[in-house]
């Protein structure tokens, strides 16, 4: 009895299938096919959602990675640009200045105080104590110790540092001393000195170390000391912490007129008790 029912069910279903099969070419089954796909659609949606989620997370990961790589590359490019600018500045400096410049690489120093730096050239390269160290933005310091293969430079952040400075028009001549790390001070300002904050000061050329017309720094602030005298605080143009190279040069002492050289006079005769001299050219 059961078998008969099943047989009937089977035959009726097969008959229905054949009927559907026969009318395949005559009837449009498009909507019916679409309807038949409906039970599978939830599975497709779930898988699509999972794929999309995984894909999105993967895309996010990839984008994060790409961004990190781009940032590293960007930093490298910035570094290269900075280095390129620096090297170009070094070349320009070398061509614009008439002094003999010896390039040297900074190999060490005391980063906390920045009072001294060590360079990789010494007496073998023709360096001597008392030579001046400069770079693109201005003066760095002077050599205080010179070995065969290295030298120690006393920078403008050293408490022994001092340099003769003047303004751009060379009207006012002053001396700049160490004040604190990264700052110099100019004391003994004459009453007629009219300089304001932001004005640049240059080396005056007095003394045997620093050539004239090198930038020292800009006036940061005008301050009043305890005894009522005014002094300028100068921010040096060259930052010691970021230095990688320096130029070593020496002032040509002969070419600079000294205020203290004695004039040679030629005696031309006596005038009473007085002896007459003629200034020699």
């Amino acid at each position: 009895m059961t078998n008969k029912k099943i047989n009937n069910l089977f035959i009726s279903l097969v008959f229905l299938s054949i009927l559907i099969l026969i009318f395949n070419d005559n009837l449009n089954y498009g909507p019916f096919r679409a309807l038949l796909r409906t039970p599978i659609k939830p599975f497709i949606s779930i898988i699509d959602f999972a794929n999309e989620t995984i894909g999105r997370s993967m895309t996010e990961k990839m984008l994060t990675q790409c961004l990190a790589e781009e940032m590293v590359e960007n930093q490298n490019l910035r570094f290269l640009k900075h280095e390129n600018d620096m090297l170009r500045g070094m070349l320009q400096m070398r061509t614009s200045l008439t002094y003999d410049l010896i390039p040297a690489e900074v190999t060490g120093g005391n980063p906390s105080e920045e009072s001294e730096i060590v360079i990789n050239k010494g007496s073998r390269s023709g360096l001597r104590e008392g030579m001046c160290a400069i770079f693109i933005n201005g003066i760095v310091g002077k050599i205080v110790e010179c070995a065969n293969t290295y030298s120690v430079i006393e920078t403008h952040s050293n408490m022994n540092f001092k340099v003769g400075v003047c303004d751009k028009d060379k009207k006012y001549f002053m001396i700049a001393y160490f004040y604190e790390k990264g700052l110099l001070k100019v004391e003994n300002i004459q009453y007629d000195v009219v300089l304001s904050e932001g004005d640049t000061l240059y080396t005056s050329g007095f003394g045997n170390i620093y050539p004239a017309n090198l930038r020292v720094g800009t006036i940061k602030k005008t301050m009043k000391s305890e005894d009522g005298e005014y002094f300028y605080l100068i921010s040096p143009s060259e930052k010691i912490g970021s230095l990688k190279f320096v130029y070593i040069t020496q002032k040509e002492i002969e070419s600079v007129p000294s205020l203290f050289t004695e004039e040679k006079n030629e005696s031309v005769g006596n005038f009473g008790w007085y002896r007459m001299f003629r200034r020699m050219k």
């Binding site: 089977f10 097969v14 054949i18 559907i20 099969l21 395949n24 089954y29 096919r33 038949l36």
Partner: protein, 167 residues
């Protein structure tokens, strides 16, 4: 309730067979007929009052996705299901060997029909080889793997249950 679960499993097997055939294939050529495995096992263990109508609909769904003439897969599935229903009393359906025989027979019938109908269009010996030999073997191997995994899992669960009871 249990029949809803079986229906969902069947729909899932249709979905896997239709939407992701490369996932269950060897080199995208030798396909594993998951639906035939499901069909064989359903026909072996479930009532024909459930399996016959459900395979009729499954065949129609299959046709709607494969763009074969509507009703083609229904007839094949119904035929296979009915054959299994007939031979069911004469075999030990709990035995793995008989299960494998039933599955291989189902796959073979399905693939043979497929080959006979579509061979004039394709005319490829490799197509015949794939359909009649490689696909049934791959399907049986797949089922063996699943069977072993289920057995191991069942045994592990059994041991875990006993230990828990003892403690």
């Amino acid at each position: 309730m249990i029949y809803i679960l079986w229906t969902l499993i069947l729909l899932l097997s249709i979905f896997v067979s239709v939407i992701y055939p490369p996932l269950f294939s060897i080199g995208s050529i030798v396909r594993i007929d998951i639906l035939m495995v499901a069909l064989s096992l359903f026909s072996l263990y479930l009532s024909p009052y459930f399996t016959l109508p459900i395979f009729f609909i499954a065949g129609l769904i299959f046709d709607s996705f494969y763009m074969t003439p509507l009703g083609y897969h229904s007839i094949i599935f119904l035929a296979i299901s009915y054959v299994i229903f007939i031979i069911k009393p004469f075999i030990f359906k709990e035995k793995f060997l008989f299960q494998m025989l039933v599955i291989s027979m189902s796959v073979f019938i399905y693939r043979l029909t497929d080959t006979v109908i579509f061979f004039p269009r394709i005319k490829s010996v490799s197509y015949v080889l794939n359909n009649l030999i490689l696909s049934p073997i791959a399907t049986i191997l797949f089922y063996s793997l699943i069977y072993v995994l289920v057995k191991i899992l069942g045994r592990a669960m059994n041991i875990y249950g006993r230990r828990k009871q003892a403690s």
